[in-house]
């Protein structure tokens, strides 16, 4: 974990409200593990105090990139910042995905919208290639397909309006694939909570291991404010664990969904 004030290398619109931000972070980039995040202080924000967490998309040399959606006060201001402007980053943070071992399980990745970005490094560093299932509402919500294909992965896209790929939910496409009962597979997922719950459900139905990257509202990002907690099963019940520290990636069998909210 390092705190660094860094310069924006580029910050460009991808599709619709999605942007790709690249920053030069020589101290952080070499440390990044798949599924980790950076906590960004958007310096022009004067009256919104907290940092914003972003999953790390790609790492290249001394730069890293994130793929974000302009959805609120923080990301709107961020989306207008030109290259050369400064941001303050703390990272890499969190407990990420377990990278498959050579000859181990075949990874099946499941992404909802820009959750796809959090899975890229895992695909890149996995010795086995697998399938990426990506879903979104519309065509513009399906991001970085080409990057995954360039890694030699198969990408199966679904959209709710049928404007791209198969029409329907990403979990339906996943379910169809799981029905084929191929041996030794493991699920890795990142996306909205309802999707993660459905993936966890499928994992348990098909008796497969699954790692889920949970998306919780976050405060400090380093484990002190206890904002981003999720209920995690323990030997004698459950307790709140921190998405920023013990997570964001959890074994789906450990998550006590019935205690959440």
């Amino acid at each position: 974990m390092v705190e660094q004030t860094v310069q924006i290398v580029s910050n460009q619109r991808d599709t619709d409200l999605y942007f790709r931000l690249v920053v030069r972070v020589p101290q952080i980039a070499p440390l990044v593990q798949p599924g980790q995040f950076v906590h960004v202080r958007i310096l022009p924000l004067k009256h919104a105090l907290l940092r914003r967490p972003f999953s790390i998309f790609q790492v290249s040399g001394d730069t890293l990139s994130v793929l974000y959606k302009s959805v609120g006060q923080g990301t709107e201001v961020l989306s207008q910042m030109p290259s050369g402007d400064e941001l303050n980053l703390i990272g890499p943070l969190g407990h990420g995905f377990t990278v498959p071992t050579p000859g181990g399980e075949t990874p099946l990745l499941v992404a909802g919208g820009y959750g796809m970005a959090a899975l890229y490094l895992l695909a890149q560093r996995s010795p086995q290639k697998g399938i990426v299932f990506v879903g979104g509402r519309r065509r513009v919500d399906i991001l970085c397909e080409e990057e995954f294909r360039a890694l030699g992965w198969e990408v199966r896209a679904t959209t709710e309006d049928g404007s791209h790929g198969e029409k329907g939910l990403v979990t339906h496409a996943l379910q169809a694939e799981l029905g084929r009962r191929a041996p030794r597979r493991k699920l890795f997922a990142c996306g909205p909570t309802p999707m993660l719950k459905a993936v966890g459900q499928l994992a348990s139905e098909f008796n497969l291991p699954a790692e889920l990257s949970l998306d919780e509202h976050m405060g400090c990002g380093i484990g002190v404010c206890l904002t981003c907690v999720v209920p995690i099963k323990t030997d004698d019940g459950w307790e709140y664990h921190r998405t920023c520290t013990e997570g964001p990636v959890f074994d789906s069998r450990q998550v006590a969904w019935e205690e959440a909210k």
């Binding site: 202080r41 105090l49 907290l50 002190v224």
Partner: protein, 301 residues
């Protein structure tokens, strides 16, 4: 140049501490800042038993502030001693342990346990958390109960006792005086201010707990006034806190009458804040040709 101040028998190398609940158990910040530069480390509130805490959402960001209702999630006395004390006891700077209970007896028992531990810098009594159903604020908004809690802890420990007062009272003077009379060695002023936010789309409260405690820069003027009033009412030192983001904020608290200060919510977004406050304080003293930080305390005219 002297930056050190005293809280009864406890000497702080400089007047800059951190606010309980914003700094975890210290170790979380060790990768980012040198903890040994601080005046003291103040840990999150601990009661006898582990506490699960409130449901989520637990915090909501507002203009220049943060509303929280964490519910004092924590490991309990035994969990704290097992998981966090081995790290904290090796620090060169004192650890102040924030304690609470649901009864007067529990406060005293927790105080006794930490007294017996050895090596603790001071105890801060949390009589003012707005986010838990029993305990917390009820002790801080009733002068009689406050006196009982402080007196019971005074009997239970020789450690310096700091009472953290609630801002949610008509006048802070009687509470400050009651804590002093019951044997408190210092006061922390203030805890968070009761607050609420509503989502206008869903028409639901933003927090699962409905209400929470407001912290951050937006509460600073309220805290300055309370420190100013309390400093006139008591002789014991005051640790001032509420929205400190930089040295200028901290100096304002000293001028209002605080002997030391605590950086709170700013730790969440800028972990370097406390160290920046120390550096800025030093620079200010140089500019003003001040040799002793104590020459700032209570000097608002």
């Amino acid at each position: 140049m002297n930056l050190s101040v005293k809280i009864n028998s406890l000497t702080l190398q400089n007047p800059v501490t951190v606010a309980s609940g914003t700094f975890g158990y210290g170790a979380e910040y060790a990768p980012l800042i040198d903890l040994n530069q601080l005046g003291a480390v103040v840990v999150k509130g601990i009661r006898l038993q582990p506490v699960r805490g409130n449901r989520t959402p637990r915090t909501f960001e507002v203009t220049s502030g943060l509303i929280n209702a964490i519910g004092l999630q924590g490991p309990g006395v035994d969990g704290f001693i097992r998981k966090y004390w081995p790290f904290l006891k090796e620090l060169k700077v004192p650890t102040i342990i924030n304690i609470w209970g649901t009864t007067v007896e529990e406060y005293a028992e927790v105080a006794r346990r930490f007294d017996a531990l050895g090596g603790v810098g001071a105890l801060e009594l949390n009589v003012s958390c707005p986010n838990i159903k029993e305990g917390g604020a009820q002790f801080g908004t009733d002068v009689k109960l406050l006196s009982q809690v402080v007196a019971a802890c005074r009997k239970a420990t020789q450690l310096p006792l700091i009472t953290k007062l609630s801002p949610n009272v008509v006048s802070i003077a009687p509470y400050a005086q009651a804590a002093e009379a019951a044997g408190s060695d210092a006061l922390s002023i203030m805890n968070s201010f009761p607050a609420m936010a509503i989502d206008i789309e869903t028409r639901r409260p933003r927090l699962a707990n409905v209400t929470g405690g407001l912290t951050g820069p937006c509460i600073k003027p309220i805290a300055i006034k309370l420190v100013w009033e309390a400093a006139k009412a008591v002789k014991i030192p005051i640790i001032g806190m509420g929205g400190i983001q930089n040295a200028a904020d901290a100096i304002e608290f000293l001028l209002a009458g605080a002997t030391a200060v605590a950086v709170g919510t700013a730790n969440f977004y800028e972990p370097q804040t406390a160290l920046q406050v120390i550096a800025g304080l030093r620079q200010f003293m140089q500019q003003q040709r001040l040799l002793d930080v104590r020459d700032l305390i209570g000097q608002c005219r």
